[in-house]
């Protein structure tokens, strides 16, 4: 099988799992962003922005967005960490064989402890790295947070 055909095949089979993954996390992020944005929009500095004569779009873009993103960054980072280790349910449902998730699933079924230990170590490293990245992103989003 030529290379581009192989890649095309992979992409083709990745479509549904990716869509499932996207829908699930979109819902989570939308809800978090919504409640966070509602909190931010009731802040005094939003009233100041309104009094300054800014349009609703400018208020959202320039005053609300950065403040409202803060809680979302943490959640995205943790999820990103788990993504490295694959999505166990989704890979199992779609029989995604080259995935780390299905490898973990298989190892659980076969009681293959060394592989599981390796997988857990990988997950731990990924989540911790992602969290570190999130904390560093915080310093960029929120000047009140500083690296020391």
């Amino acid at each position: 099988m030529p290379l581009f055909q192989q890649w095309g095949d992979i992409l083709w089979h990745m479509f549904l799992p990716t869509l499932t993954y996207t829908i699930v996390y979109m819902g989570e992020y939308t809800l978090i962003m919504r409640s966070s944005l509602m909190d931010v929009l009731s802040e005094d500095y939003i009233l100041t922005a309104k009094a300054k004569g800014l349009s609703m779009f400018q208020i959202l873009k320039d005053h609300a967005l950065k403040n409202a993103m803060l809680p979302l960054v943490t959640v995205i980072a943790i999820n990103l960490g788990f993504t490295v280790a694959g999505a166990i349910q989704i890979e199992a449902v779609f029989s995604w064989l080259p995935g780390l998730g299905s490898a973990i699933y298989e190892s659980v079924v076969r009681r293959d402890y060394p592989i599981l230990q390796g997988a857990f170590l990988l997950i731990a490293v990924a989540v911790i790295t992602a969290n570190l990245l999130a904390d560093l992103t915080y310093t960029w989003l929120d000047p009140r947070v500083q690296v020391e």
Binding site: D44, L47, T48, A49, A51, K52, G53, R144
Partner: protein
């Protein structure tokens, strides 16, 4: 105060009354038109200096934003200079320009807020209890600063406060409000020397006088009414020392006394004035 610029929260509505600014009723013009008046015509200094500035943007940036929004064609290279000039006007050094609000003290934030309010050369500044969240030393500085700027820049300042001392010192005209409606409106001298409305009279009694011998300050018994459960008739009637039957039943009209625009809303004042004629 928020109603003047239609900044009330969504649940609040302006059911009657007009807000005239330069011949236009601000309660009727479109949102786009109103956004042009906001800040360039009328700007506001809010009471919570702590939270009125956006924590994730520098103070200079937020002041510049007001200029960019309202002054079309302001040369970009001059904006920094203008922001520095504004900060200098309120006594903040230029090197604080690129600092964030959390690096400012409470008084500095309120002064930065005033600098921001001046950014587009407005004709009117509304100072809504600007000293509430500040300590006593700074509380004295803010009205003084506003008063100086008012004289230097030829602004009109609407100063909302509970502090009768500040009012006596810096105001020309005083509007005494009780429970959302006008009780009395007059020149500052008239309010202090010849108050006609019982609420104004009681309010002044509750304020210590340096020159007179020490005595216990009086207070007005009771509490202000909840605005969603107003007493029938005159709003001040349940707490008024001079209350009589008619006051309980009817809300009086604003009645003008004398020639200097002195206005009071009280049946007693209206009747006393009529009997004199």
């Amino acid at each position: 105060m928020l109603a003047l610029l239609r900044l009330l929260p969504a649940a609040g509505q302006i059911v009657n009354g007009q807000v005239y600014f330069k011949g236009r009723d601000l309660t009727l013009i479109s949102d786009d038109e109103l956004n042009k008046v906001r800040w360039s015509g009328i700007s506001i200094v809010f009471q919570g200096a702590m939270n009125a500035l956006n924590p994730v943007r520098t103070v200079g940036d937020q002041i510049a934003e007001a200029i960019v929004t309202h002054v079309t064609g302001f040369p970009k290279e001059n904006i920094t200079a203008r922001v520095t000039e504004l900060l200098d006007l309120v006594g903040i050094a230029a090197d604080h320009r690129d600092h964030f609000p959390h690096q400012y003290s409470g008084g500095m934030r309120q002064r930065a807020m005033i600098a921001m309010a001046l950014a587009c050369n407005p004709q009117v500044i509304i100072a809504d209890e600007p000293t509430t969240a500040l300590d006593v030393m700074i509380q004295a500085q803010i009205p003084e600063l506003l008063d100086n700027l008012r004289k230097r820049l030829g602004l009109a300042v609407i100063f909302v406060t509970h502090d009768l001392g500040v009012v006596a010192e810096m105001c020309d005209k005083v509007l005494v409000m009780y429970s959302g409606v006008t009780a009395e409106y007059a020149d500052v001298d008239v309010i202090y020397n010849n108050p006609r409305h019982p609420y104004t009279q009681e309010l002044l009694k509750a304020f210590p006088d340096l020159t007179k011998p020490k005595k216990k300050l009086s207070s007005i018994p009771g509490y202000p009414p909840r605005l969603d459960a107003l007493p029938p008739g005159r709003r001040f009637a349940p707490r008024c020392p001079a209350v009589f039957d008619r006051r309980r039943s009817e809300q009086p009209e604003l009645h003008s006394i004398g020639m200097d625009g002195h206005v009071a809303s009280c049946h007693l004042v209206t009747e006393a004035d009529r009997s004199r004629l």
